[in-house]
Symmetry: C2
Subunit: 151 residues, 2 copies
Amino acid sequence: MDERLNRFKQLLKQRGLKTTSQRTAILKVLLNTPDEHLTAEEIYGLVKQDWPDIGLATVYRNIQLLSDMHLIDKLNLDDGYVRYEISDVDQASHHHHHHLICSECGRVFAFEEDLLDVLEEKIMATTGFRVSDHEVKFFGVCRECREKDKK
Amino acid sequence: MDERLNRFKQLLKQRGLKTTSQRTAILKVLLNTPDEHLTAEEIYGLVKQDWPDIGLATVYRNIQLLSDMHLIDKLNLDDGYVRYEISDVDQASHHHHHHLICSECGRVFAFEEDLLDVLEEKIMATTGFRVSDHEVKFFGVCRECREKDKK
DNA sequence: CTTAGTGCAAAGCTTTTGCACTGCA
DNA sequence: TGCAGTGCAAAAGCTTTGCACTAAG
């Protein structure tokens, strides 16, 4: 069993909350799709395979809980849906990976490099604003689409 | 009169669209609040001071038009509203300024430095993804709130 | 047993759309 | 005068909430 599933149960106990089948099923779906960026509706569809009776409201409520616990991250691609993905395993760093969004095929890629420390130091020095987190989206065209365009 | 107002009229003519009082009033509101990040409803409220009879739908329709023309930029702070601000004057660079969002007072600051070229080159070299635009949000605590916290 | 959690349906919100009327060009 | 633009109201679509029932601890 994934260590994060246990961590989830610990966190629930800490808060006096209960471990339900629906909750673990939702987390499992996110754990099983680390490279996807699922909407609530998509998560709902996948969880329904294991728990056909689950309600969409339950999905929304638990997504919010998982987000509060920093087990999953919110992602907004400005397409009208809020999307979610399992958090980076490295909890020590407050840095998330960046997202590359292809304007042709619509796919979203992750880019692990960070390199924003210099920029964040500069922000601190110039403005006094202490950065604790960031969200970075790059828009453009992925390699496959560029090669397709050449032909 | 602001040069961008004339540019707007030119762009409208190019597309065979008409210059209406509501349109120019909406653009003027955005031109007059360069440091704000207004929601559609807020723009509506401000335009109403000049044009009490304007409808919210007109604001939405023209915001979209201005955004298509790259005269204003969309900004999403994940608070349930889409926000808008006048575009950077420097149209040559495809780079927008970054946003610093204070988690305590909720204010949004702009940071003009860019420094992402190195990162974008690295993305290109590593993944073949050609970046054409980016959106960067930094979350943290602004200087004033930090000083307030110390006391 | 006690209280949090769930499912369902209804409500809430921002944003979009249909339609008849208005007013630029 | 013709057609794009506007205002209003209704619709759309994602997300939240109220409530009675269920189930975890």
